[in-house]
Every structure is written in C-alpha cells, then in structure tokens.
Symmetry: C2
Subunit: 388 residues, 2 copies
C-alpha cells in the first residue's frame, strides 16, 4: 500500500452531438490532450485503460482497449477495456489506480469514451437498458427514466421532496454548464423551463434527464515517484473505491438509499482519512436530477431525506457550502456514458489546480467524484487532493 | 512487487450448447464450484472480476460485473467486467492479479462466461466480428475464419506449412478433448475427417474451426499470505503479462508472427524467470487450427516457421516433448469466448495439482496459458507453477 497515485495530465473533447466525428477521433483527441498536458512521451506509457459501456451495440465494435492503444500510436502497450454501464469511466479509473498500486505499471493512461449518436435514440435507449437487469427489468419494457422515476416518486413520498427541489438541480447545473466550454448545453434554464418541460416518466420531465452525448475524456496517472519527477502540480488520488448492489431495483431494502454509493463513499473517506465535511466540492452522477439528491445523501453531505432541502437552501451552488457539479454535471455537460467518470476526475483536477476559470471553487483543496452504474448496482467514489 | 499470487480454487461448467440454461445459471455454477474448491466463504471475497466479450449483443445485458456479484450472493463486493474480445478471460485474470498485487484486495474471484447460442449463428458471427476492426475489416464483410485463413495461407506460402500439419492439430485436440469430461466434443476425429470436412475459408475447413459454445469458468486467487493459510495446494502465478498489436491485420509487419503473443510471452518468462524449454505443458488459443501453430512459434516452443513440422513430428501430444492443449483446446473443449482464458487457467491448475486424470502430464511442474483476442490485437500469457 506504499505507492501513491497522482493525476499528472488531463484532456477531453467538448461533449455534444458530433455527427461528423467517430469514436476513434474523439478518444484520440482526448488522449493526445492529456498526454500533452502531462508532458510525457508515448514511450513513457506503461498501460492503457478504456472505460466504455456499449460500443458493441452503438458502433459495432468491441475490443476497444486494443483499438485505443492502436490509434494512440501505442501498439504493444498493455490495454484493457472495462465496463460497468454508466460507471465504466469510474471503474477504469479504479483499475488504473490498482495497476499503479500493484507496482507493475508506473504511468497509466485512462480514457473514457462513448459515441452514442450514430444510432437512433430508440436504439441508444435499448443499449442503455443493458445497464439494468435484462431479465427482471428491461425485458418487461422499463428503461432508465422509468427506474429513476420510481426512485424519485418514492423519495417524494417518504421525505416530502418536491418537484421544485428536484427541478432546482437542473437550474443550477445549467448555470454551471454555461461556464464550462466543454459542456453540451452552455445556457441557463429557469425553474419554469424545467417544470414545464415535457413529462418523460412521472415525476421526471425532459429537463430532469441527462442527454445522449458523444465525447471522450482522458487522464494520465503516475506513481508518486514518477509524478514528482515529471509533474509540477500533481493532484493526488487519496481514495479510490468500488462497491456494488443488486442489479435490479426490486432487490434492495430501500430504493431511495443508494447503498453502493454509501459503501464506496465510506471506503474512500477511510482511505483518504477525511470526513464528508472536509470535501470542498463534488462531481456526482446526476443522470436524472433525483440522482443528485440521492448522491449527496448517500455521500454524507446531508442526512438521508434532507437532500431536497439542501438543494432548496442553495447549499450546492458554486461559492456555497458544498458546490456540486461545478462542471454542469451530466445534465448540462452531457453524458457520453463511458467518458463521464473520467470527465468528473478532470473537473476535480482543474478545480484543485485552480484552472476551473469562472467555475473555480475558491480555496478548493479536496474534491470528490461519484460515478454510478445503472440504477446504483455499481458505484465508484474517488477523492482527490492538491496535497499528498 | 513483494506480494505473491496463487490460485486456490477452480470450477467450471461443462462446455456445450445449453439451450435450456442462461448466462446467470452458467456463471453461478462455475463460481459456486470454485468457491467450494477453495474452501472459502462468500464473506472472504474482496472483489470479483468477470471476463465477457459481448453480452450486450448476445443476451442484451451489459453491466455483468454487478450482475455476477449479485447472483453469487456477493451484493456490495467490488465487481468489474473487463473485455478484450476472445482474450477477455485472460485479461480478467491479469486484472485480478494486479488487484491482489496492489495490496487493496486479498481474495479475488475471477470468472469468465459467454452465452452464445441464444442467438442465430449469423448474429453470433457478427457479434464476434466486433473483435476485429469494424471500420477496416468487419464493415467490408470479413469475419474471423477469413482473417485466420489469410494468416494460414501466408504461413503455408512462407514456410511450406501443409494442410496435413494444420489438420493434425484438430486430430490431437479432439483426442485430448475425448479425455476431458468438460469438453463440448468428446470424440476422436481422423486426419481424413478433418481434411474432408467442408471448406469454410480456404484453406480452413469446418474441423479447423472452434465452435460456438456456452460455458463459464471461475478461479479464486489469493495473496501468498492468505493462500498459505487457507489452501493446502496453492498453484502460484509466476508471470502475468498483457500486450497488444494493431487491431487490424493489415497494419502489421507480418501477419504470421503474433507480436502481442511474443511480447506477452517474453514478459511472462522474465517475471517467472523461466525459459520456454522449462515449460512442461501449455494451453494456447487455437480458435482456428493455424492459431495453435502461430502460438507455439510466438511463445518460443520452436523457431518461427517450424510449428507445422513440430506438430507433424508429434511433439505436442500428451507425453511428448511439450503437450499443447491437453484440455482439448478451443477446438474440442469449446470456445465460450469470455470463459476461454479462465478455463485455460483451470486446466493448468488441474495439471499442476495432478488432478488431470487421463490427460495428466507426468511430472508437470510449470505450465503456461496463452489467450488471444481477435486476430492477435490482444494477448495475455500466464505462467503457473506448483512451487512458489
């Protein structure tokens, strides 16, 4: 456990609908930017990890670990694709962290990528439903807006959470996304815009849902020793944890408590030796607006059931108690599934380096990222710090 | 690098066409057997890895890491799916090895699984073509028999390898498979049977091709310290290496030299501090009969170009110089893609424990497994030993 792990470079594409660009072009751009940012050469790279959820169904291509190594000019280098649905990026980060901890690899490049707009929205929705339980959920016709609507409705029933509170999350995330040049949607929305948008799955409306997005993101990790040699401003990964829950929603004791998030969070806090109160900002998995409430509750930023109030009190905006999703989150930044967990790590790195421009959280020293797969069957939590 | 890693338990399903069984049932059987074989409890398990190539396209299900943890009764435990086409199993083994080396996990369960017969053969062939380069190969209509036929034809041209030599591999592997109760095909075939079987992609005939198979395989790995506590006969992983090559065949200097295999082999030999001459037996990736020749050449069991002769001289049978694919190989044992790399590790474990029954290689002390993805874009090599 002696080896430390640091982020020494980051790079991402703009997120959006890119009908003139392919999977290879996106991940190559993100990877090149990260390698340039890290000021390393290809020959320094010991291994490559790629988080990608469903390239088989979305672009007819599996085996994307080798593909990415090939297109990055890293032929020969060990490369692996990992997948845990919407948390594929966070999972890739955890595997890369383990790979460095193992002592076998010193510098590891971790990419996340998804190309989702080459197929119809219906096809993408079916592919995404592969993150749910095929036999007990997807086969019967439910897709993700429906699953999260169940969680939202139950949260409203149990804790009095309101549609206004849920909608305020979209308002804040759009306000943040407006400040992020990489975001898919860089404009404000009003509470009225959100609450009058078309119903998708009651109580979730269009403006509560993250979009279908193309994009890629890459970070370069290094062992502590290497990081100190090649990097002036390494950002340290102080905690990296992964946990699971039942694949289907019906198997859980509570559908409003994301146990995998609570478990991964607890472990990450232990590794980093910090408490939730010491976290200066967090990027969490707001695939649907309700998920941001479930995230801040499960991560201990407020008590269970109090997430809606916390949002209503304005405690999650930039320059408030704990800024959540300064990047714009999945709602405004976009959600190219495999890239999301890596893009969260990039936002954390920029914040801790003081490079987040108009989104900068003043005095940010410790940040957290939380990436969720499916309705919560997989969760990864990472804690980043400017100090070793 | 101080931590050692050992196999402490193994289990697999019979390989075959199981129209009455699903993905979940197969991996649960393999996992249960491995956990019983390891004599551990579920609560001892720190993490789960699953190698699976294309469950999204074959059974409409991604997110199979969490699925397997769930169905194994291990809700909460960190779980990851990894994928590198036909080498997904070997890749899972490498990631589990790294996970233990990292110091974060002590006991890790690694499964491989594929359920391939729920779809038509055409659909399965298209899914498998996702292991090739979609844009430069698969899109233009070539599938894997065609890619390996190109390699075979070129090997015949450059080195005088004959159809008889290639066919003898199928004869040997069926003879071995006949002795393996887990094999899909437990019967002999004659040289004439092979050479008169229908042509698939010249010069490869039906009996040179591994089948479409359902099946699952699981091994339990432990750190050296844990292994010594809980296991009487741990089998030590002395080398674990991963390498890549261009995704498409046309990008390579030579299409008859599997560079990723040579590189992974070299690294694994270095880690294990052994030479090819010290390997007592090997399980290699004979997805097509020619691939076994490419494997034994790239791993240094004979000179490049001499694989055909080595086969013709009978040097690869059980009780000969170096027994290859005592399990029956992919040809006779079957090839449930994600399970293959794990099943190879199981055969190595059984051989080194002296539990291979009629297939037992006398005095086997060191064994090697080689698992190839696509036409050679990914390769993993593992070296196992009865001695620490």
């Amino acid at each position: 456990m002696a080896r430390d792990v640091a982020v020494i470079g980051v790079g991402m594409t703009k997120f959006g609908e890119f009908w003139d660009r392919g999977y290879r072009s996106l991940i190559t751009e993100a990877g090149s930017k990260a390698i340039i940012d890290a000021r390393i050469d290809g020959k320094d790279i010991d291994a490559v990890y790629v988080g990608s959820m469903s390239p088989g169904r979305l672009i007819g291509q599996e085996h994307v670990g080798a593909l990415v190594a090939d297109y990055a000019g890293l032929v020969g280098v060990p490369a692996a694709r990992v997948e845990a649905a919407c948390s594929s990026g966070g999972l890739a980060l955890h595997q890369a962290y383990l790979a460095i901890k193992s002592g076998l690899y010193d510098i590891v490049v971790v990419g996340g990528v998804e190309k989702m707009t080459d197929v119809s929205t219906e096809h993408a929705t079916v592919a995404l439903a592969g993150a749910a339980d095929q036999e007990w959920e997807a086969f019967h016709g439910i897709t993700f807006p429906g699953l999260y609507a169940l969680m939202a409705r139950r949260h409203m029933m149990d804790y009095g959470t309101t549609e206004e509170q849920i909608s305020l999350i979209s308002v804040k995330n759009h306000a943040n996304g407006k400040l992020n040049p990489y975001a898919q949607y860089q404009y404000d929305v009003t509470l009225e815009d959100v609450m009058k948008s078309s119903m998708v799955a009651d109580p979730l409306r269009l403006m509560h849902c993250s979009p279908i997005t193309d994009g890629a993101a890459t970070v370069v990790l290094a062992s502590g020793e290497k990081a100190k040699k090649v990097c002036e401003n390494p950002i340290w990964i102080k905690g990296s944890a992964l946990a699971t829950d039942t694949l289907s929603l019906h198997g859980r004791k509570s559908i409003t408590k994301v146990e995998a998030s609570a478990m991964a969070g607890k472990k990450a806090y232990q590794m980093a030796k910090v408490k939730p109160s010491k976290i200066d900002f967090a990027e969490v998995h707001d695939c649907f607006a309700i998920a941001e409430i479930l995230a801040i509750e499960s991560l201990g930023f407020c008590k269970i059931g109090k997430g809606g109030e916390m949002v209503e009190n304005g405690e999650t905006w930039i320059d408030s108690r704990i800024p959540i999703n300064t990047s714009g989150g999945l709602k405004a930044k976009g959600h190219p599934v495999g890239a999301t967990g890596i893009a969260q790590a990039i936002e954390a790195t920029w914040q801790l380096r003081g490079q987040a421009d108009k989104r900068q959280v003043k005095g940010a020293k410790t940040g957290l990222t939380q990436n969720v797969g499916g309705s919560g069957a997989t969760c990864t939590v990472h804690i980043f710090s400017e100090e070793k």
